[in-house]
């Protein structure tokens, strides 16, 4: 069952240099259509400027789209009235990247967890609220004896646990996690990823998992959508995407991830050039300026996202590459460094 349906979504930011300065426009999200199925973890991956965070914020209605619509359980998120929005906030919660910035430094843990309970009337009375706080802290692996502390008294990993507890306080069904583990050290990161996976299973959450870390995405996501300069270039079930990426950008992205094995001689595509500025995206296919397979037509045609196999979509006009039967003809340079 589809929980969230994103239809032809656009988000344009208008930037002005100085008071009377030149106005420039950034198309952070361009013509994105995407479904989130109830109970799945859908990952949004991409590099800086890909629009993955903007898309997450739009879905959580922290921003409003310039065009297009987002349906949550069939209702258009943009046209919710105050009462509906209140209910929507209870169902949809967000976890942010930086737990140093997203927790109020002046609030004790107890108060920051009690606030959503009181606002939504989920627990009444001191005892009920106290019991729920204890339960929430337990769920994220923190001792409730820490409830009277302030955020600065916690480590980065613990703070991210607090962010998760706060998000879970209202018993949401849908979580938008924006780079929720990216700021953490690797050993802590694994702990928080495991916690999120456990909670997702226990509480039957649906998760939009925004991350630039593809190794973690591979571990947690059911499906993956790859974004580049505001557009979706590929959508596929996780196993299929990692087994055989179809889009040249996805292939390059996967190939660029260093693995902690000096003997691994992987096919490596070092992409030439820079990620273009989102203020001046290339015509036609946004990836064509760095694509090893670009044709003249790629500058003219905006490739539609189209089916390229079971449950897979890709936006590329090269039928020969998208069929999946052709070998992945890649301009690869095999790493040839000597291994000590």
């Amino acid at each position: 069952m589809t929980l969230v349906e994103v239809r032809e979504l656009h988000k344009q930011f208008v930037l002005r240099k100085g008071l009377f300065g030149k106005v420039s426009r950034v198309n952070a999200v361009s013509d994105v259509s995407l479904n989130v199925v109830q109970g799945e973890v859908l990952a949004l991956v991409g590099e800086s400027g890909s629009g993955k965070s903007t898309l997450g914020r739009l879905v959580a209605r922290l921003d409003t789209p310039t065009a297009g619509e987002i349906l949550y359980n069939g209702a258009n998120v943009a046209s919710l009235n105050a009462r509906q929005l209140f209910a929507f906030r209870r169902h949809v919660q967000m976890i942010f990247q930086d737990p140093y910035a997203s927790l109020n430094p002046h609030m004790r843990v107890r108060d920051m967890l009690a606030e959503p309970l009181q606002i939504h009337g989920l627990a009444r009375g001191r005892n009920a609220i106290g019991a729920r706080i204890e339960q929430l802290m337990g769920a994220v692996g923190l001792s409730s004896t820490l409830a009277s502390r302030f955020p600065h008294e916690f480590s980065g990993g613990q703070r991210q646990r607090l962010s998760i507890a706060r998000a879970l306080a209202v018993e949401p069904e849908f979580i938008v996690a924006d780079e929720a583990v990216s700021a953490l050290d690797v050993s802590t990161q694994a702990q928080v990823v495991n916690l999120l996976s456990d909670l997702k299973r226990k509480l039957r959450l649906t998760v939009l998992f925004i991350s630039h870390n593809l190794a973690i995405v591979q571990n947690v996501a059911d499906r993956v959508a790859v974004l580049y300069l505001g557009r979706i270039l590929e959508v596929a079930p996780t196993e299929d995407l990692f087994a055989q990426a179809r889009h040249p950008y996805t292939q390059a992205l996967l190939g660029a991830i260093p693995v902690p094995d000096p003997t691994a001689r992987r096919k490596r595509i070092v992409l030439k050039g820079e990620i273009p500025s989102p203020m001046r995206p290339p015509s036609g296919c946004v990836f064509r300026t760095r694509c090893p397979h670009a044709l003249a037509d790629c500058a003219r045609i905006v490739p539609p996202l189209r089916p390229v196999g079971a449950g897979r979509l890709a936006a590329c006009i090269r039928d020969d590459l998208m069929s999946g039967s052709a070998p992945q003809a890649i301009a690869s340079t095999t790493s040839s460094r000597a291994i000590p």
Partner: protein, 367 residues
């Protein structure tokens, strides 16, 4: 081409004779370098007796999590520590003239002859380490004007050459660019150009690709690998074991201010001996060795100790699956040399079989 030397370390591209190598190739040696914070009763040791060697043509890596002391170690070499910290131990640099100096005891006035000339430094965030008010060209030219006494015009030509060397297109035009007009990757290339402008024999790179996107990181790593030509030595500081695997020859793993293990990059990443290294390697989720989806990622239990509450005995023992009561919580482990030329700081390393980290990561969190 690889050369086997007596310590068992393979040096890529080494053209030196095995017997003279260890003598001739050392450019910088840290001997029991410690960094202390504060003074008197409140003094804390934040870096504890780190010893390592940087050799010509070789990349030595310092790896560890936040607070392990890896960045402080690199800042100490450049004498860039804040004034609240002081250093003990020595930083022995062999200058290009052949003379040896102890950088830690050099008078401040002589540091200009080290920084930039003997040792170049690349920082993590080029936006904060470049001057936002000067053009790229001015910042690179300054190196040639200060250190080489070149005229503005000559220095500018050299700056342009540097931009070409670090792979910046349209170098001539980019000389006039301000840092904020460049992308993160380009800014990092400018940092590299400044660091190597005066052809130092050592480059220290502190998390040089951490702020970059992965496709740009791949480009910068290629550029950094190229720096080891001209028998330059590199100290590479990173928390990312994947990046370490791409660039490092030797690796020193730091935990809670100490080096707990060192060895060749292959030994550290594939045949770790110290339980912390094993745990660290196993914690990295890997696209080359996917686990079943949703399977718990391995994680080291507990967390890094606070400075003020360093555990007695081995600093890692409260988190260690191999810790033995009465031993690891009492006896402070010293560095011991392994048969393959590595070093390990563990009381029980001989009893703990070097794990294949693959099986460790597949055990999941059941360790």
């Amino acid at each position: 081409m690889q050369t086997e030397i007596s310590t068992g370390v393979m040096v890529p591209g080494a053209t030196h004779h095995a017997d003279t190598r260890s003598l001739d190739d050392t450019i910088l040696r840290l001997e029991k370098l410690s960094v202390h914070l504060g003074a008197g009763d409140h003094a804390r040791t934040v870096v504890d007796e780190v010893s390592l060697t940087i050799r010509a043509g070789e990349c030595t890596a310092l790896v560890g999590e936040s607070g392990s002391g890896k960045s402080l170690t690199s800042l100490a070499i450049m004498r860039l520590l804040p004034s609240s910290m002081h250093v003990s131990g020595s930083i022995v640099l062999r200058r290009q003239s052949g003379a040896q100096v102890n950088v830690s005891s050099l008078p401040r006035s002589e540091l200009t002859s080290i920084r930039g000339l003997e040792i170049g430094m690349i920082f993590q965030e080029p936006m904060t380490s470049l001057n936002p008010l000067l053009t790229v060209g001015e910042q690179i030219s300054e190196m040639f004007m200060v250190h080489r006494g070149e005229s503005r015009q000559v220095a500018k030509n050299h700056a342009e050459e540097m931009l070409v060397r670090v792979g910046i297109p349209e170098a001539r035009a980019r000389l006039a660019a301000m840092p904020h007009e460049l992308s993160g990757g380009m800014r990092q290339r400018v940092m590299i150009a400044i660091a190597i402008a005066c052809d130092p024999r050592i480059v220290i790179a502190d998390e040089p690709t951490t702020a970059l996107d992965v496709t740009i990181q791949a480009q910068i790593l290629e550029t950094l690998r190229g720096l080891q030509e001209r028998s330059r030595g590199m100290l590479f500081v990173s928390h990312d074991l994947g990046v370490i695997a791409e660039v490092a020859d030797r690796v020193h793993v730091m935990y809670a201010g100490q080096v707990v293990e060192s060895g060749s990059v292959g030994a550290i990443l594939l045949r770790a001996r110290h339980p912390y290294t094993m745990g660290l390697v196993a914690s990295v989720p890997r696209i080359d060795r996917p686990q079943p989806r949703g399977a718990a990622l391995y994680s080291i239990p507990g967390r890094v100790p606070e400075l003020a509450r360093m555990p007695a005995g081995c600093r890692f023992h409260p988190r260690c699956a191999h810790a033995r009561a009465g031993l690891c919580d009492r006896v402070v482990p010293q560095i011991e040399v392994t048969e393959d030329g590595g070093e390990v700081r563990c009381l029980r390393w001989r009893e703990i079989a070097p794990t294949d980290t693959l099986s460790a990561s597949q055990r999941g969190s059941a360790l």
